[in-house]
Symmetry: C2
Subunit: 107 residues, 2 copies
């Protein structure tokens, strides 16, 4: 098989898992941390900083965009990728809601 049986789970469970999944790669963690330390960010910097090929970085950025964590604006010849702070906070809150409501009553 290899296909996740999405239809078995609720939309909330799938959304939550998707957030976790996108953050579940060290390159994407590193990208977010690097962007947060810059006042501006262009993909080319990331290629040097992270050490993966340009195509690979571009793909990771696409995944981070897919859940709205990054927004990109054209800035001259290059792109300015930024963290979407509003979305960032929303997702953090949802993850915390999951952590706080999922508590043990067991053993």
């Amino acid at each position: 098989m290899g296909i996740t049986k999405t239809q078995m789970f609720t939309e909330k469970q799938n959304d939550l898992a998707q957030f976790f999944k996108v953050l579940g790669h060290p390159a994407r963690v590193a990208i977010l941390q690097y962007i947060s330390n810059q006042n501006a960010c262009i993909c080319n910097d990331l290629v040097e900083e992270i050490g993966l090929a340009q195509a690979t970085i571009s793909q990771h950025l696409k995944e981070l965009k897919s859940i709205g964590l990054l927004k990109g604006e054209v800035e001259g010849k290059s792109m300015c990728y930024c963290i979407n702070v509003e979305r960032w906070t929303t997702i953090q809150n949802q993850l915390n809601l999951f952590f706080n409501t999922t508590k043990s009553n067991c053993c």
Copy 2:
């Protein structure tokens, strides 16, 4: 390729990504939520509740155990899988630290 270049990243980045990754599957989210609503938990219940095969559930439980989120005790013929509350809190704190320190200064 297909192999994540772990050696390019810091241990913290890899650990963080690993936590996110393990939580990044709806079945594992559902398992944790189900366990949290029970006073006890045995795998067999999960098979009926989640709707995946017994072997599959067992595998997901193994991954949750791998980051210490679950601990299992033998209880008669079956297993009592419980959330490791201490570890749960530690991981929640680490994720929040990541969210809080990774902030945007951009655009």
